[in-house]
């Protein structure tokens, strides 16, 4: 079995790790680390059932995940304090949201940057307030800066000068240049307050965002982790009403196709229970599956052609053809200079 398949099997059925050889363990742990799923894996596996050397590595991963979670929640609190005077809605996204809301998807999950969603009209004062509280531009580059401000769904990333942590401030969940246009006002209107001044997306929107992030924006790097998020969310939220709401929200945001594909892929790889009609295979799913399973036992990504295809696709999804040509030209000539 390839390392990526070992990883999927271990996450899906933790008992499957019984009897792995030392070489298979090495491959599994390396792939899990490369896919940023080692904390999740450590949380799933019963450390008493594994060789001592593996148990030590898993214990390290668990401790790291606890610390990452603590740091991520603290960072969210820092942003809350900086933005509280504005009185605008601040919605946590992705890993920090899972951790803050106590969702299964947050168990053992690695959390990097802080991602928040704010109303588009508040963007200017949000940036000012963050800069006043110690966040600053990661690097000043006029083209990148202008590109972000004009064409992206987020501000150029800011980093805190003392804590060295990044924040991504979004005003919607896909770039305005992408073909689907999610309803940002609806995302904000249905956000669920956590009671501490911060909010998270509604359950259905959370799944829609995870699917959009994985399939409608980017080249599927880190896709196994994103798909694991989706699996955990679907299992936790499951219920007739939820599935109906999910179909409704996906349609409203123009993201029915990516949401359906994400559900099918989660069902296929992680065995996520899904209602009749959501399961099955759609056209092209096999290619996505192949892209998701590129990681080998040394932590490298194989299938270079498949990956290149998804890289090109990520740009295609994000921009109209003429704009893409201009963008790639600017990037290429700038690199050469």
């Amino acid at each position: 079995m390839t390392a990526a398949r070992l990883l999927v099997a271990a996450l899906r059925e933790p008992a499957s790790v019984a009897g792995l050889s030392p070489a298979e363990w090495t491959a599994l742990l390396t792939a899990a680390r490369a896919e940023r799923l080692i904390g999740t894996l450590a949380h799933r596996i019963d450390a008493r059932q594994v060789p001592a050397a593996v148990a030590r590595i898993l214990a390290d991963a668990r401790a790291s995940a606890v610390q990452e979670r603590r740091a991520a929640l603290w960072e969210a609190e820092m942003a809350r304090r900086a933005l509280a005077p504005l009185g605008c809605l601040v919605v946590l996204l992705k890993g920090t949201a899972f951790a803050a809301a106590g969702l299964d998807a947050g168990q053992g999950r690695s959390i990097g940057d802080l991602d928040i969603l704010v109303p588009r009209e508040a963007l200017g004062e949000v940036e000012q307030a963050l800069r006043a509280a110690g966040w600053e531009a990661v690097k000043e580059d006029d083209y990148d800066d202008a590109y972000y401000r004009r064409w992206m769904h987020e501000l150029p990333p800011l980093i805190h000068r003392e804590r060295d942590r990044m924040i991504d401030v979004h005003h919607t969940i896909l770039p305005p240049t992408a073909r689907p246009t999610p309803d940002a006002a609806a995302l904000l209107a249905d956000a669920v307050p956590l009671g501490n001044g911060l909010s998270v997306l509604s359950p259905a929107d959370m799944v829609v965002h995870a699917a959009a992030h994985m399939l409608a924006d980017g080249d599927l790097a880190g896709g196994l982790r994103n798909l694991w998020d989706i699996d955990r969310l679907l299992r936790e939220f499951a219920g007739d009403e939820f599935w109906e709401a999910l179909a409704g929200r996906a349609a409203r945001h123009g993201l029915t196709a990516p949401v359906c594909r994400a559900v099918r892929l989660a069902h296929g790889l992680y065995g996520t229970p899904v209602p009749e009609g959501w399961a099955g295979w759609g056209g092209g799913d096999a290619l996505y599956r192949r892209r998701l399973l590129v990681r080998d036992g040394w932590g490298r990504q194989g299938h270079a052609v498949t990956r290149l295809g998804f890289y090109v696709r990520s740009h295609w999804l994000r921009m109209p053809p003429l704009m893409l040509a201009r963008h790639l030209w600017t990037k290429a000539t700038r690199r050469a200079a």
Binding site: T26, I57, A63, S64, Q67, A71, W298, G299, R300
Partner: protein, 282 residues
């Protein structure tokens, strides 16, 4: 990977894979007699920058579980250095089981002397010379401080000696080899720790003295308050921030229980004598 070698150094199980035979063979020779890990904790990959660079002007890119975005590749002749840098990098960025200090460590009578300083401070040279004269060599690069009891765990990699240090160790009767000329850090020579250091690589001991040496200055000794030692060691630690509260508690205990001194010395012989004297007074 085409060529691979696994080795355990102290608490750390490494696996090093490469697209070429030479770096892996050199590494296996340098680490002959070290145990193999059951399951590797950390993986190093030495890869060509582009597929054709395996043959054409071969250059070695250092990759693995963890990496730095702007690391410069090395020519294939310096493949052993690439392997060593790769191992250091994985430990520096990935290790969480102990608090890591950029320091050398030697042990005598069951107590550990720690020496922390920037590159060029002489901490590697002093640890190597002490390791040749009755002390147990624990490591020249990283000190592993246990999070539960503060003891120092050995990490007896081959010491990497730069430029003048190579001659200093040879003059004292040590064997240095192989030596790589013309690396980004000048000449680098490796010194293999004695058999005793390898045989006892699982044996930890409590710290007793903390020195901040500075090579090339007139002899001087200056006591350092715990607060300053603490601040300097947060700078010298690669995982202090990532460990959070555990890192703070471990470092606070270290500087709270172990005396710290800043020492200047003009040459190795003076430095060695000074360290022995301060140790006997500690």
């Amino acid at each position: 990977m085409r060529h691979a070698h696994a080795v355990r150094v102290g608490a750390v199980g490494f696996r090093i894979g490469a697209a070429w035979r030479a770096p892996v063979a050199a590494l296996a020779r340098l680490y002959e007699g070290y145990p193999a890990p059951e399951v590797a904790d950390l993986t190093v990959r030495l890869e060509p920058q582009r597929p054709w660079r395996r043959w054409v002007r071969p250059s070695v890119e250092i990759a693995g579980d963890y990496w730095l975005p702007d690391a410069a590749p090395l020519p294939l002749e310096q493949g052993l250095l690439a392997a060593e840098m790769g191992m250091n990098l994985q430990v520096a960025l990935g290790w969480r089981r102990h608090l890591l200090l950029h320091a050398s460590a030697v042990e005598k009578d069951g107590r550990v002397l720690l020496m922390s300083g920037a590159s060029g401070s002489g901490k590697s040279t002093l640890a190597t010379l002490l390791g040749m004269s009755g002390w147990r060599f624990l490591g020249d690069e990283f000190a592993f401080v246990a999070l539960d009891d503060g003891r120092i765990h050995p990490f007896p990699r081959a010491a990497s000696l730069k430029n003048g240090a190579i001659e200093a160790v040879r003059a004292a009767g040590g064997t240095v080899g192989p030596v790589l000329e013309g690396t980004p850090k000048g000449a680098i020579g490796y010194w293999r720790p004695p058999a005793d250091a390898l045989a006892r690589m699982a044996e930890a001991a409590p710290p007793a003295l903390l020195l901040f040496p500075r090579f090339g200055h007139a002899e001087a000794v200056e006591p350092m308050p715990p607060s300053e030692a603490f601040m300097r060691l947060t700078q010298a630690s690669t995982n202090y921030v990532a460990l959070g509260e555990a890192g703070f508690a471990t470092l606070a205990r270290l500087v709270g229980t172990v005396p710290a001194l800043a020492i200047d010395y003009p040459d190795s012989a003076t430095g060695l004598a000074l360290v022995e004297r301060l140790w006997s007074e500690a």
